[in-house]
Amino acid sequence: MGTTESSIVDSARARPGLLLVVLLGGLLLVDLAAKLAGLSLGPLGGSVSVDRLGSNLWNGVIIGLVVGLAGIGLSMTYSILSFANFSHGDLLSTGAFTGWGVAFLIAGFGDIPVRTLLSVRDAGSASAGDIGAHIVSTPIAILVGLLAAFAITAVVALALDRAFYKPMRDRDGISILIASIGAALIVRYVIQFVYGSDRRGVTASVDASNLAFGPLGLSVNAHELTIVVAAAGLMLAMHFMLQRTKLGTAMRAMADNKDLALVTGIPAERVVTATWIIGGGLAGASGYLYVLLRGTIQFDFGWLLLLLIFAAVILGGIGSVYGAIAGGLVIGIVFTTSTIWIPSDFNEAAAFAVMITMLLLRPEGLFGGVSTA
C-alpha cells in the first residue's frame, strides 16, 4: 500500500496541472451530486433536477455524435497528410447545402419551383412548411439527402485536394495549413455567393414526432433519433472498413508510421484519395445531420463549428478515429452540461477551455499512443 501511495504523490508532484484538473473535476462531481440531492454546502450545491441533467446529457450526446463524425475526417487528414485542415468546417456546410438541396428536391418536387428547392429556399418564397421535409413525413427525401451530402462533399474534398493540396504534399505542415485557410475562404464564400447569406429554417414541423421516455423524463424527437442511428451507423461502417479491409489496414499503417508504410509498398496516393473521400464524405454527412438537428442553415455554420471539431480531435488524440468519436462525445457533453454551472454564453468557451487544457497537459490526447488510424 505504501508504495502505491508514494507513487501517487510522486506523479502528483511531477504533474501539478493534472492534479489541479483532477481536483477540479472531483469538485464539480461532488457539487453535481449535491445539486441533484438538493443539498447546499456553502458555495456548493443548489438544485438541479434529474430531468434537466438527463436532457442535458442526451443533447450533449447528440451534438457529440455529430461533432465526432465530423472529427473522423479531420483526424484522418491530420495524421495521414500531417496538417491541420482549416477548410474542414466548410466541408460541413458544403454537405449541408448540397444534401438539403437534394432532400428538398425530392420532398417538394412538382409543387414548388426547382430553383427554390435546389437553392435551399434562397430563391422564391416557399416556406419550410410548404416544402415539408421531415423524417416522419418524407423519410426517403431525408435519407437520399444524407447520401447526396456524403457523395457531393467527398467529390468536393477530393477536388480541393487535387487543386490545392496535392502540389504541396512535400511541404511543411504550416504552409499547407495556410493554404487550407485559403481553401476555407474559397469554399465558404462560394457557398455564400450561390446560396445567399441569410439564416433560414429548413425542416418542417410535424405533430407527434416527440417520443417520450417516461422514467428518465427525456423527450426524444424523431430527428434526434435519426441522427443517433445515422451517426452510429456511419461510425460502425468506418470501424469495419478500418479493421476488416485492406484499405483500412493501409490507412492505419499510413497514420501510424508513414515512412514505414511507404517502404512496405503501400500506394500512398491511393490511400490519400480514399482518406479525402471518406473524411470529406463523413464531414458532409455530419453537416447535413447538424442542420437536421438545429432545423436552420447558414452559410458559415461549419466554420463556426470547426473549433469544436478541433477540440474533439485533440481531446481524443490526433490520428485516432475512435479518439475523435470519444472526444466528440466529451466535447458535446461539456458543451451542454456546463450550463449547470456557468451562463450559457460560455458553453462554447468551456469546450475550448477543455481543449486548451488537454493540449497543455496531454498533447497526445486521451487515446494518445494507441494509433488505431
Binding site: 430553383r115 495549413l177 485559403g182 475562404l185 464564400y189 455567393f193 446560396y195 486548451i356
Partner: protein, 441 residues
C-alpha cells in the same frame, strides 16, 4: 535599408529603363512602399475624379487608413511569426483586449452614457490596453510555447474565441458591473472615447466650434478653400499620427532585429536546435517576443478600432480579422518588416477595398436589374443579369479571390513579394568577400 544592395544577383545590368526603375525601387524598401502607395492613389484618383476633389481625397483617406492599420498589425505579427516562428492566430483576440481595456479605463463612470468605465486619462488607457494584452499573452505563452506550431495555432485561435465570447456575453458585462462598476456593453459593444486629434481642430470635438488650428486648416483646404469636408481633413490628421506610429514601430522593430536579441531571434527561426545548443535560452526569448508582439497587437487594436467610434465583439473581432493580417504578412513575406508594411498596404487597398470599389463602379455601368438570388440569376440564362448579380454581390467573390491569392502565394511564392530579401542573422554581410585576402593555394 540598403544593406542588400551588394547582393550579386542584383548587380547585373538591367535590361531596360523600366526594369532599371523597378530594380532601383526593389533595392530600396522605402521606395517600393512609397511607389505602391502612389500607384494606389493614382488608381483611386482615376476611379473617383469625376466626383470632384472631395471624393478623391475621401477615398485616398479610407485606403491610407486601412493600409496603415493593417501595416501596424502586420508588423506586430511579423515579430512573432516572421522573427520567432510563433504561429499566433489569435491576433483578433489580442487586438480586442487592447481596445476594450482602453475603452473601459477611459470611459466615463456615469452609466447614463452606456457601459461605465474608470474615467482615467487616455494615455493611461492606452498603456493599460497594451499591458492587459501583454499579460494575457504571457499567460498564454508560458505553457503554450512548448507545443508544436500547429497546436499553438489552435490554442491561440481558441483563446481569441474565448476572449470574443466573454466580450460578447451579457452575463460577463453584468458581472463586471457588479464587481468593478465597469461594463463591456456585451453584444452591442461600447462607444470609444473621443479622438484627441479631433480636439486639435474642434473645441470639445463639437462640429461648429473650430480652434485656431481648425480655422486655419478648414479655411485653407476645407469647404471655404479647396472644398474638402472637415471630417476628411480631421481624418487625415489622424492618419498622419498613424503614419508616425507605423514609422516608430518600424524603426523599433528594425533596431530590435539588429540588436543581439534580434540576431538570436533570427537564429531561433533558422534553427532552434542550434540556437539552443549554443546556450541561448530559447524558451525565455520566445516568451519575450510573444509578449512584446501581443502588446503591440493591443496597441494596433487601440489605434485601429479605438478611432472608429464604436466597437463590438461580433463581427469586428471574428477570427477572420486574424487571417486578414496573416494574408498581409504572407504577401509581404514573413520575416521582413518592410514586407509587412508593404503587405499591409497592398492587402488593404488592392485586395480588401479594391474589389468593392471596382465592383461598385462596374455595377453602375451594367444596365440590368439585379436578380434576387443566384438561382434566379442562373435561371434567366442572361449573362448581363448574371454579371449584375455578381457585381452586386461582390463581397463573397472578394473573399473567394482572397482565398485564391492565399493558395497561389503558398504554391508559387511562399516567401512573399519581399521574402527573397531574407535578413541575415549575422551582424556583418557574409555575402561580401573581403578582397585581397589569402587564397587557399
Amino acid at each position: 535599408m540598403s544593406d542588400d544592395s551588394a547582393r550579386p544577383s542584383e548587380t547585373e545590368a538591367p535590361e531596360s529603363a523600366t526594369a532599371a526603375v523597378i530594380d532601383a525601387a526593389r533595392r530600396s524598401d522605402l521606395g517600393l512602399i512609397l511607389g505602391t502607395l502612389l500607384a494606389v492613389y493614382l488608381v483611386a484618383a482615376l476611379l473617383t475624379f469625376t466626383d470632384g476633389l472631395n471624393s478623391v481625397v475621401g477615398l485616398m483617406r479610407t485606403l491610407t487608413f486601412l493600409g496603415l492599420v493593417y501595416a501596424l498589425a502586420a508588423l506586430a505579427l511579423n515579430l512573432q511569426w516572421g522573427y520567432a516562428g510563433l504561429f499566433n492566430i489569435g491576433v483578433a483576440g489580442f487586438m480586442a483586449l487592447g481596445v476594450y481595456t482602453m475603452g473601459i479605463v477611459v470611459r466615463s463612470p456615469d452609466p447614463a452614457f452606456g457601459p461605465p468605465g474608470f474615467g482615467l486619462p487616455l494615455p493611461v488607457g492606452i498603456l493599460a490596453g497594451m499591458l492587459v494584452a501583454a499579460v494575457v499573452g504571457l499567460l498564454a505563452a508560458l505553457p503554450a510555447l512548448r507545443l508544436k506550431a500547429d497546436y499553438l495555432a489552435i490554442v491561440t485561435l481558441g483563446i481569441s474565441e474565448i476572449i470574443r465570447l466573454f466580450l460578447q456575453s451579457s452575463a460577463f458585462d453584468t458581472y463586471l458591473r457588479d464587481t468593478l462598476g465597469v461594463g463591456t456593453g456585451g453584444g452591442s459593444g461600447m462607444g470609444m472615447p473621443r479622438n484627441p486629434v479631433r480636439e486639435l481642430f474642434l473645441v470639445d470635438g463639437q462640429a461648429n466650434t473650430p480652434t485656431a488650428l481648425g480655422d486655419f486648416a478648414f479655411g485653407t483646404f476645407g469647404e471655404s478653400g479647396l472644398g474638402i469636408s472637415n471630417t476628411i481633413l480631421i481624418d487625415w490628421a489622424y492618419i498622419a499620427v498613424l503614419a508616425g506610429v507605423v514609422i516608430a514601430f518600424f524603426v523599433l522593430l528594425e533596431r530590435l532585429g539588429r540588436s543581439p536579441f534580434g540576431r538570436t531571434l533570427k537564429a531561433i527561426r533558422e534553427d532552434e536546435l542550434v540556437a539552443d545548443s549554443l546556450g541561448k535560452n530559447v524558451d525565455l526569448i520566445k516568451i519575450k517576443v510573444f509578449v512584446i508582439g501581443c502588446a503591440l497587437m493591443g496597441l494596433a487594436g487601440i489605434l485601429w478600432f479605438g478611432s472608429q467610434g464604436n466597437v463590438s465583439p461580433t463581427p469586428q473581432f471574428m477570427p477572420v480579422l486574424t487571417f486578414y493580417v496573416f494574408i498581409a504578412v504572407i504577401i509581404g513575406g514573413s520575416g521582413s518588416n518592410a514586407g509587412a508594411v508593404l503587405g499591409g498596404i497592398v492587402f488593404a487597398t488592392v485586395l480588401f477595398e479594391g474589389p468593392r470599389r471596382v465592383g461598385a463602379s462596374l455595377r453602375d455601368v451594367i444596365d440590368a436589374e439585379t436578380p434576387p438570388s443566384f438561382a434566379d440569376a442562373v435561371a434567366t440564362l442572361d449573362p448581363t443579369a448574371f454579371l449584375a448579380f455578381a457585381t452586386d454581390n461582390i463581397a463573397p467573390l472578394q473573399f473567394v479571390f482572397l482565398g485564391l491569392i492565399l493558395v497561389f502565394i503558398m504554391h508559387r511564392r511562399p516567401d512573399g513579394i519581399l521574402g527573397d530579401r531574407i535578413e541575415t542573422a549575422a551582424a556583418v554581410d557574409l555575402s561580401e568577400r573581403p578582397s585581397g585576402g589569402e587564397t587557399d593555394e
